[in-house]
């Protein structure tokens, strides 16, 4: 009896595997390793994009979206492998070690000259992370008030053009290597505020930054070029059309919105900057 069950299970698994190998699907022959989809994320990957720095669990917004896209492309959960890259590794010339790279990469025309982006899987509002002390000192969710603050941001993000073009602070912003350094600068009082995508800002203000507060958000529809996240692929990637098809399918079916609702907090409580 046991033996029969085992055999049956094996049969099912191999059947799935055969299906997952993507034979006859769009992605056939286009992935790094035939039959496997290799996805890159950050090192470490941050909440709420990936929970507990474990993308294999499928928990967290980007991890969940990744598996959903993989499934639409014909790769089962067992046929997805994860690698880690920095931003620089993602854009360096030469052979890539991933099929697509997913770590809140904003789509910009300049970047598209060098690499390929998928259709956006998330449109982010930018939000102002600050501390209660700064709020108590009179900082408000108005552009005028924001201009007078001392600003910081992570140097590799599209927050910087946004800062310089929309907020236009009177003092030169200070820029840092990563979230941790920005937080250190906020806590040392060297900067008043930092610009992040809303989910990251929500997380940092609630969990990481002592006395952290969210001053407000710039909703995506308000900025000239909304911050849209896309999957990054090698320039001229053959896989792009398959990825785009999967994302379109997920968007139209409402599955993407459902994943977003599950993993990204509702941001309705954050005031909108005027």
């Amino acid at each position: 009896m046991k033996l029969i069950a085992c055999t049956a299970l094996t049969a099912i698994v191999s059947a799935t595997a055969a299906f997952a190998a993507g034979d006859g699907t769009c992605a056939a022959g286009k992935t790094l390793t035939e039959g496997t989809l290799t996805i890159a994320t950050g090192n470490p990957a941050y909440y709420p994009w990936v929970m507990n720095d474990a993308p294999e669990s499928g928990e967290g917004f980007e991890a969940a979206v990744a598996y959903a896209i993989a499934e639409k492309m014909g790769f089962g959960k067992n046929n997805v492998t994860w690698v880690r890259t920095s931003f620089d590794e993602a854009i360096q010339p030469g052979a890539k070690n991933f099929d697509f790279n997913m770590q809140q990469y904003s789509i910009t025309p300049e970047r598209e000259e060098m690499v390929d982006f998928s259709l956006p899987y998330y449109t982010s509002a930018m939000a102002v992370l600050t501390t209660q002390n700064v709020v108590d000192a009179g900082a408000q969710a108005t552009l005028d008030s924001l201009k007078g603050l001392k600003w910081g941001a992570v140097a590799t993000t599209t927050a910087i053009p946004m800062l310089n073009e929309v907020i236009q602070p009177s003092d030169e912003p200070l820029l840092y290597n990563d979230n941790a350094d920005v937080n250190a600068a906020i806590m040392a009082g060297q900067i008043d505020a930092a610009l992040y995508d809303l989910p990251t800002a929500l997380y940092l203000s609630a969990v990481v930054v002592e006395g952290g507060a969210l001053l407000g958000q710039f909703p995506p529809d308000q900025s000239e070029s909304p911050d849209q996240f896309g999957l990054l692929m090698e320039d001229g990637s053959a896989l792009r059309e398959c990825v785009d098809a999967a994302i379109t399918e997920l968007t139209e079916s409402g599955e993407l919105a459902a994943i977003e609702a599950q993993w990204l907090s509702e941001a309705t409580g954050v005031p909108v900057i005027k």
Binding site: F87, D88, I91, Q92, P93, G94, T108, E110, R111, E113, M114, V115, K150, G152, A155, T156, T157, T158, I160, P161, E172, P173, L174, L175, Y176, N177, D181, A184, A185, M187, A188, G189, Q190, I191
Partner: protein, 286 residues
């Protein structure tokens, strides 16, 4: 004098009929020049012909030597470089003064000044033993984290302090080696004239010591010019950081190449000058 007419005589003779040795040396010289030329040309050819033949060359060229990105970012990089120059300009004198003070601490001979000497030793040991970037992080975030009000928590102040601490330790060692290099007979001569230890140091030993170590210190300051970029870790947007911002905006490494060119434009002449001084000094010694 007869000496000049004698020299002139030699010059005239060699102008008309070269000596056997001159003929021989001229031959050797022509041969070496020929070999140097051939080997240089082949290396350059290899670089400019073979490298572009590599399969990934086009991709590398697009990512590192992208003309469009270069023109778009170079002016911004130059502007950011002004900040490097400024940080350097206010750090260098502070480093020179602190380095000299520490060197003098280490040279203090009076027993009452032993703590000073101990301090000098500990200082140079510790700060030469730490990576610059670590000191910048610890001091640049750590001290302002104690709760200093603005503007006293500025990363410029504490980042500069970190640079001064590390580099003055090196400068102190260089100056000390300069002090040691002054022959003891100079101290003896000063003492025999009734000069105090202090005056001996100030008027006799230090002026010579510092002159002897100018080239070595030049090299340190060239290194400092490069390490100013490390201040970007704690916020200031100098050229290295600005290049990083451009890199991420354009997903292209060309801005780093631009930054490298700007650095080289400054450091190569400085390095050549330091070498020139060093050679001059070596010649003067022999």
């Amino acid at each position: 004098m007869d000496e000049t007419s004698l020299q002139k005589g030699v010059a005239e003779r060699s102008a008309t009929t070269p000596t056997r040795r001159e003929v021989y040396e001229a031959g050797i010289r022509r041969r070496s020049n020929r070999i140097a030329l051939i080997s240089t040309v082949s290396v350059v050819l290899a670089l400019f012909v073979l490298v572009p033949l590599a399969p990934g060359w086009e991709a590398v060229q697009r990512a590192f030597f992208n003309g469009r990105v270069f023109t778009a970012t170079f002016p911004g990089l130059l502007e950011a470089f002004l900040l490097n120059v400024m940080i350097f300009a206010w750090s260098a004198p502070l480093i020179a003064i602190t380095g000299l003070a520490i060197a003098l601490c280490r040279d203090a001979r009076a027993p009452a000044l032993f703590p000073l000497r101990l301090f000098g030793i500990a200082y140079t040991d510790i700060f030469r033993g730490l990576p610059v970037v670590l000191v910048i992080y610890i001091i640049g975030f750590g001290i302002p984290g104690l709760g200093l009000p603005r503007p006293w928590n500025s990363p410029y102040i504490w980042g500069t302090l970190a640079l001064v601490l590390v580099y003055s330790a090196y400068v102190a060692e260089v100056i000390r080696s300069g002090i040691d290099s002054i022959h003891h007979s100079q101290r003896a001569a000063a003492a025999s004239l009734g000069l105090s230890d202090r005056d001996t140091m100030r008027y006799v030993v230090l002026p010579q010591a510092i002159r002897n170590v100018v080239p070595a210190n030049m090299n340190l300051f060239i290194a400092l010019q490069k390490d100013v970029a490390l201040l970007s870790f704690i916020g200031p947007v100098e050229i290295f950081r600005q290049a990083g911002v451009y890199k991420s905006l354009y997903a292209n490494f060309t801005p780093y190449v631009g930054a490298a060119l700007i650095f080289l434009a400054l450091t190569i002449p400085a390095t050549r000058y330091a070498d020139y001084l060093m050679n001059k000094q070596n010649k003067a010694r022999t």
